[in-house]
């Protein structure tokens, strides 16, 4: 078996595994649902995630120890990950192959030549590590923007699978929606389509993970190189060179992705994977200047405090940044979130959405709740998101901790925010229409929404009695009310009594059976037709901000009850109540 065949099998294996793990990221016990599938496998193997979080939090979250395997293997073998494991890389490899397979050899060789702009990815790496490095100045984890594993994970979760589901419902019972997915798609599509320009464009020019591997792999024990001096410089080896590393001359080991195509293509069998240096010479260091490196690093270091000048982490915080239950306090959260989209994928109610930049530029693609999207707000008995967060930006909390039960009873339930009734839009507050959908749906017990009874006279509701027979009151003139028999309408008598109305016509109302009139009204008395409203009021101390009320509110545009993040448990500086 040829090594390139093994490589292709490996690529297919890991790519399929990756896609499968994304597909199964839905809550359930079936084989095609999450069960105990290690859905974060690729993210945990990714050393950029591990190193990034070590820089920002000065800890290595225990599942990220898997990255040590990748690092050790890279130190020994070189950039094997890029062409044997990385699903994004395999996608680029395949696209590039499709685009170029009918081109003539000289053209292909020319496409694969080394370009000095390949050093840009090292600057990107330096920049991203700079943003993570200095807590005293301000740091956050932004590697997720361009790290290929979170990037492809996010693209599949929020774009590709939901689009595939449309109509076919292959991987989800209901259509999933994700705000701003167009941008995620645009970036993904651009990265893939750029392979039509130069093969493995992203890998060669942009990928910070590849850059990291290039640096780590400098002392690789085995490397591609020539073992004989008789090279005739035909450059066939560069025909399918994936890394753009020029094996025909002085091979640039930091660019070599170990695709072994050169070894396969060399007709004179000169190229080997060997422990000794290439006889044609090799360049192990990435082609970046010290000045360029320092500038990128400094840029990264300064970028975070500059980005924070809008004070979005202070008094100017955006109230719609409602994070999932178990999320850390905001500064700590931004140190861990790699924008992988796992929480968005697993959320059974589809309420977790990728954020835009209203909360600050660091907020981009971090998870926030949008209660209008999905099947309901945050379900009371669900803690799925924390279970799949690879870096514990959302902690894996238990149900007891979320609900404030058992050993967490003294802390109370985790609050995501607080619901606020918009009295200008709420039907019983502003429109004289009975409605208590929010109160009915409030899931906590005792409910966090209670009602205050209030009677209001309906439009043109003050009438003069013409005649009274048994339960029927005829009045002068005509009433515009169409149906007063819903049980919510009452006749206000002159003595202040409220009598329920059972039926009505344009000129009469029928009082409900069994209602006891203390005194029979007489002709000439004035009555008022009133609607009994139950006006919802939020009990701040009990509201957990789950958003089910906002989701159910029948005022479906700008909802009449809306959750915002004031009062969230994770923040000490966003409390509404003292002692919060």
């Amino acid at each position: 078996m040829k090594i390139v065949q093994a490589r292709r099998i490996s690529q297919i294996f890991f790519f399929s595994l990756f896609v499968w793990l994304i597909i199964v990221s839905t809550v359930g016990e079936k084989f095609w649902q999450i069960r105990a599938w290690p859905v974060n496998l690729f993210l945990h193997l990714d050393p950029l995630v591990a190193i990034g979080t070590i820089l920002t939090t000065h800890t290595l979250y225990y599942p990220l120890l898997w990255a040590l395997i990748t690092i050790v293997l890279t130190i020994i073998l070189g950039r094997f990950f890029c062409s044997w494991v990385c699903p994004f890389g395999s996608l680029h490899h395949f696209t590039g192959y499709l685009a170029n397979r009918n081109k003539k050899t000289p053209h292909k060789i020319q496409l694969n030549k080394y370009r000095s702009t390949q050093s840009v990815k090292y600057f990107i790496l330096a920049f991203l590590l700079g943003t993570a490095a200095f807590p005293s100045i301000g740091n956050s984890l932004q590697t997720g923007l361009l790290d290929p594993i979170p990037l492809i994970s996010r693209s599949f979760s929020t774009v590709l699978l939901p689009v595939a589901d449309k109509g076919s419902y292959l991987t989800s019972v209901a259509q999933r929606f994700y705000e701003g997915a167009w941008l995620i798609f645009a970036i993904f599509a651009a990265a893939v389509l750029l392979n039509l320009v130069i093969p493995r464009f992203y890998c060669r020019f942009v990928c910070p993970l590849g850059a990291l591997f290039g640096v780590i792999g400098r002392f690789a024990i085995w490397r591609i190189g020539k073992n004989k001096n008789e090279c005739i410089n035909c450059k066939l080896c560069e025909r399918a060179c994936e890394g753009g590393c020029e094996p025909a001359g002085q091979i640039r080991t930091s660019e070599c992705v170990l695709c072994f195509n050169c070894r396969q293509d060399c007709k004179d069998d000169l190229i080997k994977y060997q422990t000794s240096k290439s006889l044609a010479g090799e360049i192990t260091n990435p082609d970046i200047s010290r000045r360029g490196f320092v500038l990128s690093l400094a840029g990264g270091v300064l970028a975070v405090p500059a980005a924070r000048l809008s004070n979005k982490l202070g008094a100017n915080w955006y109230y719609k940044v409602i994070r999932p239950p178990g999320a850390l306090e905001e500064k700590e959260f931004l140190k861990r979130c790699i924008k992988c989209g796992q929480c968005m994928r697993i959320c059974p109610t589809n309420v977790i959405q990728p954020a835009g930049i209203e909360g600050g530029i660091e907020n981009l693609w971090t998870p926030v709740l949008n209660n209008r999207i999905g099947s309901s707000g945050c379900q009371l008995n669900c803690v799925a998101c924390g279970q799949v967060c690879p870096t514990s930006a959302i902690r894996p909390i238990t149900l007891d901790e979320k609900r404030g039960l058992g050993e967490f009873a003294h802390l109370g339930p985790i609050k995501l925010g607080t619901a606020f009734v918009d009295q200008n839009r709420c039907l019983p507050w502003a429109m004289n229409k009975p409605c208590i959908v929010c109160e009915e749906n409030c899931p906590v017990s005792p409910k966090a929404i209670y009602t205050q009874e209030h009677y209001n006279t309906v439009r043109d509701g003050i009438l003069t009695i013409k005649a009274v027979t048994e339960n029927t009151i005829e009045f002068l003139g005509k009433s515009n009310s169409t149906n007063l028999a819903t049980g919510d309408y009452y006749c206000l008598m002159q003595d202040g009594q409220h009598i329920n109305i059972a039926a009505n016509t344009q000129t009469s109302i029928v009082l409900a059976d069994g209602e006891n009139l203390s005194k029979m009204p007489s002709a000439g008395d004035k009555i008022a037709i009133q609607v009994r409203l139950q006006r919802p009021v939020v009990d701040i101390e009990k509201c957990i901000g789950c958003g089910i009320c906002e989701h159910e509110c029948p005022v479906s545009g700008k909802r009449a009850i809306r959750v915002s993040a004031e009062g969230e448990s994770r923040s000490s500086d966003r409390r509404i109540l003292p002692g919060g």
Partner: protein, 349 residues
């Protein structure tokens, strides 16, 4: 020189290390297989309790639960097609179907709901939804049935000897331990015919068989009885948790109908205890004793917020009148019922 060769299969001659290459390649494949096997073994743990939510309460209500037990009761009526798949709900996810009404059922012994929609073959605007609530027993089914009786209920010949009624667009009845509702999209004779046919099919199904009659309801029998006014409160009757298994009905005496009630207790002492606790509840809530000429009803009649309330016992029955307007009429109604109940006592003895 060799630039015109085809892309693949550039096998060179005299390749060295080909053996090693094969060994390495195959070892790598072996490692991949080992990884796949480990993952396959690892994923077999089906305990997903760490996620909190369970699949049963995950499904949005439009979609059927994956292993829906298709209800054998709901057959497609003639001239109709099924509009949706059969759905099954249990006590945990009932609220997804009927939302705020769920506690009415779950607190009355509900165990399963089967429902399905059918649409008329020739007119897509004519469709109906059939609900079969498995309430566990006839009494529970009757309770939820009677508590939701619609004001425009019409007795139907189809339900003679049964508890059931129709409205302009629906059919509601009790059969065995099931409470069945059929709700149509419009007021249409065609729909009513289809509903009646479906109802008949349900009744014919041997799996549905069970008690059809509640004996106690006969105890209300009287010329004053308002037909179909009987209700059964399983617990918390009149807002008092001490009153359970209370049958109520209306007697027409005078202008306003009088609500009478009774509850059958296991023995005389329990009946007296229940009656006493209700009387205590009334007095604690500011009810005052009313005067009466009847020796039997002395200290058993109360003025409760302007209405007359009565509770006493006869044998093992707690009997009474609820929120009556007129004390005389109330006393009359009470006596009618009390006599009926004590007669039944004698027969039993």
């Amino acid at each position: 020189m060799n630039q015109n060769n085809p892309q693949f299969n550039v096998g060179s001659t005299g390749r060295t290390n080909s053996r090693l290459e094969s060994v390495v390649s195959i070892s790598i494949i072996a490692i991949l297989l080992a990884i796949a096997a480990t993952l396959f073994i690892r994923q077999a743990d089906t305990d997903i309790s760490r996620f909190g939510i369970t699949p049963a309460n995950l499904q949005p209500s439009q979609k059927p639960v994956p292993e829906a037990e298709t209800s054998p009761f709901i057959q497609v009526p003639a001239g109709f097609d099924k509009l949706s798949e059969p759905e099954v709900y249990n006590a945990e996810n009932l609220y997804e179907k009927i939302n705020g009404k769920a506690p009415l059922y779950t607190e009355a012994g509900f165990s399963k709901l089967y429902c399905q929609r059918f649409v008329n073959k020739s007119d897509a605007n004519l469709w109906m939804e059939v609900f079969l609530y498995d309430m566990g027993n006839l009494r529970n089914a009757f309770s939820v049935y009677s508590m939701q009786r619609r004001p425009d209920a019409k007795t139907l010949s189809a339900f003679v000897q049964m508890y059931g009624y129709g409205t302009s667009n629906g059919l509601y009845f009790v059969y065995g331990r099931y409470y069945i509702e059929m709700i149509g999209s419009a007021e249409s004779d065609q729909l009513v015919m289809a509903m009646l046919e479906t109802a008949a099919n349900i009744q014919k199904n041997p799996m549905v068989a069970g008690d059809l009659k509640i004996e106690e309801l006969d105890l209300f029998q009287s010329e004053n009885l308002v037909p179909d006014s009987a209700k059964l409160y399983l617990k918390n009757a009149f807002g008092f948790e001490g009153l359970s298994d209370v049958f109520t009905a209306q007697y027409k005496i005078g202008r306003q109908p009088i609500t009478v009630f009774f509850s059958k207790c296991p023995n005389v002492q329990d009946a007296e205890a229940m009656a006493e606790s209700y009387r205590k509840f009334l007095t604690e809530n500011d009810a005052t004793v009313k005067q009466t000429t009847s020796e039997f009803l002395k200290n058993k009649i109360f003025d409760f917020y302007g209405a007359t309330e009565m509770v006493f016992t006869t044998g093992q029955f707690v009997v009474g009148v609820h929120e009556a307007e007129n004390q005389d009429a109330a006393e009359k109604a009470a006596m009618i019922l009390a006599v009926k109940l004590s007669n039944s006592n004698k027969i039993k003895q």
